[in-house]
């Protein structure tokens, strides 16, 4: 049988605690368990990958049997894959302010109920809050003798309010997730905010579609960064010819002064102490002063594509590692929020995010705001709802005409290849010259 050139095994044993409160009723609250292992073998050509429940990583006999099976799988592949050497190293995991395991389920439920209750203001007809806690124990070893283990703790919640008047229904939602400890205390203000946004949207107008100037708040500008640049800079998409950023290293693709970074080492929601291939993580500047500088890589895409930084392999438990973002952001410029609004003159201010999506090969992306305001003569006027934007990767970064000085990071989850991983996005307020706004108002 053909030989394995390389193998690694990554086991994640974990607990997920979920609490769901809907209109004051505790629908469910409890903990579930998983224990998944992924075995990867690089055969003479490509990858063979096995996924199993409950693997005893310390048993040499079990490991050998799995590696042999994965090697057999790898034998059917034809694509010639090589992996680059990359620096190793495990960062310390930030210590927890308060360990969620020290808080019992009753108290978590009570605190979540407080947040949900705060959203229930007049005209709000439904409130819902969900708590999500994940405690993962990760163990990794590879055929070169590298081994590491660490624990990842995530705790956070989302709260949704729906307001209704005369058959019109609108929603407001807030969320907050961290990797630094228990995250349900003193958060009622976010519940209240969800309620207030839902109620004020009852009076909002439909946005008018067209091309206009747009101010993005830090949360939406973070999603813009993630969709417009982040995905297209992922080395696997570049390798496959599926990104418009292929072959553009050194090219000016954005305005002067623009710096876009992905940094898995920051203690934000996308933090990882080491990547899913055992490679050390570090700050990667994708764009420096408007020029495309680095792709995000794993060992395979670094070998195939070059021009970038490894340490960006991530995996959901029970799934093979792929190139992913972690904490992605635009660095601050020097404009104040007031300067940005006044420079916008006439346009639209967009706030919050309902997510986005990109077709990196075509270079087109879409993302949605929670709500917005019309800007007239540099002043904020009427509230508008259901506004999405679309843009084209290769031109949109040239359309940034002002970069604010007030960057904020926001936690979220990103899906790719059927895997969902925690990330954070951020930016300062941005002013875009020509944004395509997809409203249906007249």
């Amino acid at each position: 049988m053909a030989e394995a050139r390389y193998y690694d095994i990554r086991c994640v044993e974990g607990e997920i605690t979920l609490i769901d409160i809907d209109n004051g009723v505790v629908e469910s609250a409890g903990t579930s368990y998983f224990d998944r292992a992924v075995v990867r073998v690089l055969g003479p050509k490509g990858w063979g990958i096995l996924t199993r429940d409950h693997v005893d990583i310390d048993s040499k006999r079990e490991r050998d049997a799995l590696v042999e099976e994965a090697t057999r799988l790898a034998a059917v592949t034809e694509d010639q894959v090589d992996i680059a050497d990359a620096p190793r190293g495990l960062l310390p995991v930030p210590s927890l302010d308060e360990d969620p395991r020290d808080v019992d389920l009753e108290e978590k439920t009570r605190l979540l109920a407080g947040i949900e209750d705060a959203a229930r203001i007049p005209e709000v007809v439904n409130t819902r809050a969900r708590y999500t806690e994940g405690i993962d124990s990760i163990r990794f070893l590879d055929s070169s003798g590298n081994e590491y283990s660490y624990e990842a703790v995530r705790s956070g919640f989302s709260v949704l309010a729906i307001a209704s008047r005369n058959g019109v229904m609108q929603m407001g939602s807030e969320r907050d997730h961290v990797t630094t400890g228990f995250n349900l205390r003193d958060k009622q203000d976010l519940g209240r905010k969800a309620g207030e946004v839902a109620v004020s949207l009852l009076d909002a107008k439909l946005a008018k579609g067209g091309v206009m100037r747009a101010v993005l708040d830090p949360e939406l500008a973070g999603v813009f960064t993630h969709e417009a640049v982040g995905h297209a800079s992922e080395g696997d998409l570049v390798r496959e010819g599926a990104s418009v950023l292929e072959g553009r290293i050194g090219e000016q693709i954005g305005c002067e002064g623009l710096v876009i970074v992905d940094d898995p080492s920051l203690p934000e929601f996308g933090f990882i102490p080491v990547d899913a291939e055992g490679v050390a993580v570090r700050r990667t500047e994708i764009i420096r002063n408007g020029i495309l500088t680095s792709y995000l890589h794993n060992r395979e895409t670094l070998a195939a594509v070059g021009n970038g930084v490894p340490g960006h392999a991530r995996a959901e438990h029970g799934a093979p590692p792929i190139v992913r973002m972690s904490n992605t952001f635009i660095e601050n410029g020097d404009a104040t929020y007031d300067e940005i609004l006044s420079e916008c003159k006439n346009g639209i201010l967009l706030i919050g995010s309902r997510g986005g999506q990109v077709d990196p090969g075509r270079g087109v992306f879409q993302f949605s705001a929670e709500y917005g305001y019309l800007v007239e003569d540099g002043e904020i006027t009427d509230m508008v709802r259901d506004v999405s934007l679309s843009g084209e990767i290769l031109s949109t970064l040239h359309d940034i005409i002002l970069l604010g000085n007030d960057r904020k990071m926001n936690p979220g989850y990103c899906g790719k290849g059927g895997q969902v991983v925690p990330v954070s996005d951020g930016a300062p307020h941005l002013l875009l010259e020509k944004a395509t706004v997809g409203g249906r108002g007249i």
Binding site: S32, N126, E240
Partner: protein, 430 residues
């Protein structure tokens, strides 16, 4: 200990501490052959096992799940602890064993879940794609078989097999991409070569599109585009839980003409499809459910929990995804109605897919999305690609008056639907 013995053990031990116990076990095996650089680059095989336990005591429902049979006790205890926190509710018990006369098949007994079989389908995908001048940038073939078992302390013990065959291919030519896919429980329903050809054809034909002016246009949503938008908005609106919680636009409209009279929407768990089943994820016998009959709203979907709480009957609509708790869903949802006899000579905008459907507002129905592979269509044929544009609208308003349904029914996930002609929709050009 494994399999049926383990299930029996959990029921007996759990019963000592709760009024009722339910165990749902899944055991699955899958293979996947992935395309990289236009050839087979990755071969995967996966085995999964999961056990989900629900306990009920004094109307409090607890839940937990585990992927490790040796940890069943911990899982049972977690379910009991979970139940002690849940708000008590009206509860009439898990279902008793029923005489299920109906049949439903979502398994292909002849399907071999082997990597060589998947690799063979990749060859077919690539040979189809080779008919057009494109680069293949992704895709692959997946084969899976899963065994599902449900048992409760009321005496229910059902099991079934499901199979799944899925192929997809993504191609690019210059800056024009094309993606196509197909999935079925049955191997002979999948033509990998045609899927590869269709994806490549889309990428090749979409090159050199022209701009479109902002304005109102008659449009055709392909079954894929329609499924993306309707899946995000329509499915939550017919869930009884959302209805009773005040989260559904359709909540107070039973018996009303909510959609065009040419639209009917029903769930048929007995039709062959990926969700076919004679019992739902709580062991309740399934039935055909007509949600919308010729535009008139007939009923909503319920599971046991929502049904008992609000004095409604379970409609056998419980589904599970992954190892999670059961919730309200659909088995095989059909969007149906009389079809347009001939494609008119009118010029319309045809939309293959959309980008960002998940950002639609499920409560109000408002959405604005980027469109993928749009074409000008004349006399029923795509004649000229459109470069890029957005499409904004409201699902509930848009379905109130449709231009008609095409003859091209297609299964997209658990939805089966034709293309939908809509008049005077808002397109935003760039």
């Amino acid at each position: 200990m494994n399999g049926d013995d383990l299930i029996e053990r959990v029921l007996r031990v759990g019963e000592r501490q709760a009024d009722e116990v339910e165990v749902f076990c899944t055991r699955g095996q899958s293979v996947s052959a992935g395309i990289k650089k236009g050839i087979l680059g990755i071969a995967e095989e996966s085995e999964t096992w999961n056990m989900a336990i629900r306990v009920v005591k004094d109307g409090q429902i607890g839940f937990s799940s585990t992927g490790d049979p040796d940890r069943w006790k911990e899982c049972l205890n977690a379910a009991l602890a979970s139940g002690r926190i849940a708000t008590p509710q009206e509860w009439g018990g898990f279902p008793k064993p029923a005489d299920i006369a109906a049949t439903a098949s979502s398994a292909d007994p002849d399907l071999v879940v082997g990597i060589e079989e998947a690799a063979g389908m990749v060859v077919d995908l690539l040979s189809g794609a080779a008919e057009h001048p494109v680069e293949v940038i992704g895709g692959g073939a997946d084969l899976a078989r899963v065994n599902l078992e449900i048992a409760n302390t009321g005496g229910v013990f059902y099991d079934m097999n499901r199979t799944a065959v899925a192929v997809s291919l993504e191609a690019i030519r210059e800056q024009s991409t094309g993606y196509e896919f197909d999935a079925s429980p049955f191997l002979d329903e999948i033509d990998a070569r045609s899927v590869g050809e269709a994806a490549a054809s889309l990428a090749a034909r979409s090159c050199g599109g022209s701009d479109i002016e902002t304005g109102r246009y008659d449009i055709i949503l392909s079954p894929i585009a329609a499924a993306s938008i309707l899946g995000q908005v329509l499915l939550p609106a017919i869930s009884g839980r959302n209805v009773k919680a005040g989260r559904s636009f359709l909540a107070d409209k039973l018996g009303e003409q909510v959609f065009d009279e040419h639209l009917s929407i029903y769930d048929d768990p007995f039709a062959p499809g990926p969700g076919s089943t004679t019992w739902d994820a709580e062991g309740v016998p399934t039935r055909r459910l007509v949600f919308v009959q010729q535009g008139v709203l007939q009923q909503f979907a319920y599971d046991l929990k929502t049904g008992y709480r609000y004095g409604e009957e379970s409609t056998g609509s419980a589904v599970r995804s992954g190892s999670g708790e059961p919730g309200i869903g659909v088995h095989n949802l059909f969007i149906d109605g009389p079809r347009i006899k001939d494609a008119g000579e009118e010029r319309v905008v045809w939309i293959h897919d959309v980008v960002g459907a998940h950002t639609a507002n499920p409560f109000s129905g408002d959405f604005s999305v980027e469109i993928s592979n749009p074409f000008w269509m004349e006399g029923g044929r795509p004649v000229k690609p459109i470069r890029t544009a957005m499409f904004a609208g409201n699902v509930f308003e848009m379905l109130r008056e449709i231009g008609g349904l095409g003859k091209d029914d297609r299964r997209v996930g658990r939805l089966t639907l034709p293309s939908i002609l809509l008049n005077k929709q808002q397109i935003i050009g760039k």
